[in-house]
């Protein structure tokens, strides 16, 4: 048992301990180890420094390192808790944890609120929703007239902004989302429940490989 532990520690040197990460998240230790394989592959794709840069994240998500995207930027920023412009392994696992089917609803509600609060003011302003809507339309190559966009925003804010102050605060968001549960669909990735079997395209290194380092 002692030998196994030191081998695992060697592999994870410089990164957070998988056992600790498993205890903080919905992932099992072997799932955290599987995530480490993914993390290694993403974090070494542009610069092999054990950290995921914005460019590497874009490369992994879109298979195109130059592709900038408003929503991907938001997700990256939320994973990058220490605001270093880089995601370390702990950030990666804790970030993905929120999307796990077993993660608490409250965590998902909080994450989605912060996701849409583009400038981090603690409120989702109408202008921010407009910006996101326009970004979505560009992405899907759909065109809508400005007045149509405004009427969609009107309709949304009538429902979500109960005190009608032009912005959605945290508690308004909580109520809005409980009435429209489909809005949280994006916050759950069902396949995270079983990543070790769902993604066979991972290459799992055997312990033998790691001894060489």
């Amino acid at each position: 048992m002692g030998c196994f532990n030191s081998k695992v520690k060697k592999q994870f040197r410089g990164h957070e301990d998988p056992i600790a990460l498993a205890s903080q998240t919905a992932f099992s230790v072997s799932e955290v180890e599987a995530l480490f394989e993914l993390f290694k592959s993403i974090s070494s794709s542009v610069i092999d420094d054990g950290l995921i840069s914005k460019e590497e994240f874009q490369l992994a998500l879109f298979k195109n390192r130059k592709k900038e995207n408003l929503f991907a930027n938001r997700i990256f920023d939320l994973f990058d808790v220490k605001q270093k412009g880089l995601i370390d392994f702990g950030d990666f696992v804790r970030g993905l944890h929120v999307f796990h089917p077993n993660a608490a609803q409250e965590e998902k509600v909080n994450f989605s609120f912060r996701l849409y609060d583009l400038d981090g003011t603690g409120f989702i302003e109408r202008q921010e929703v407009k910006q996101m809507l326009i970004a979505l339309l560009c992405e899907s190559e759909m065109k809508l007239a400005d007045e149509t966009i405004e009427s969609i925003l009107d309709k949304t804010f009538v429902e979500a902004d109960s005190n009608q102050d032009g912005k959605i605060d945290k508690s308004e968001w909580q109520i809005f989302v409980s009435r429209n549960p489909s809005l949280l669909k994006i916050m759950t990735l069902p396949y995270l429940r079983d990543i070790t079997t769902t993604f066979p395209s991972f290459v799992f290194h055997s312990e033998v490989d790691e001894v060489a380092t």
Partner: protein, 196 residues
Amino acid sequence: MTCAWAESRKRRRITIPEILKDEWFKKDYKPPHFEKDDDVNLDDIDAIFNGSDDHLVTESKEKPASVNAFELISRSKSFNLENLFEKQALVKKETQFTSRSPANEIISKIEETARPLGFSVQKKNYKMKLQGDRTGRKGQLAVATEVFEVAPSLHLVELRKTGGDTLEFHKAHSSLNFSNNLDILRNLNSHLLIGP
């Protein structure tokens, strides 16, 4: 049958769809079973179609469901973190377009186009299930369609592949897309790419 296979002139060589129909071939033939996509949640579609329809007088909704800004925003493909786990870019399994036609007209048009292409159509309110009759590369093509209201007289039509090959889905989609305001009816036969 062997002569038909051996026919060297490509024009006259038997095609795979023809083989699949041939009596000799069909004897003792068990078509391969393709797994339905696990990651597509069909609960909402199934719920509509499995619901008790015993009474003939069904209350039909006047208008399709309306979408708010966040529902639209959440359709961004950048929320599909599944891509992080895949080596190649995932081919989208859904597509959408907007239309200014009234919702019930959109539904009828899709149905009118889909049936001659060999799809069986099930519909309820503003949701439809289309099932292809030809066996393509990964079983029968199945498409779930839903019409939403985005703004007065502007509708969003979503087509989601729920079974079959994704490339065939994209080809079928161009036949079902009315955003150019003209029915572009293409024979689905020519779209089925049966590889070796």
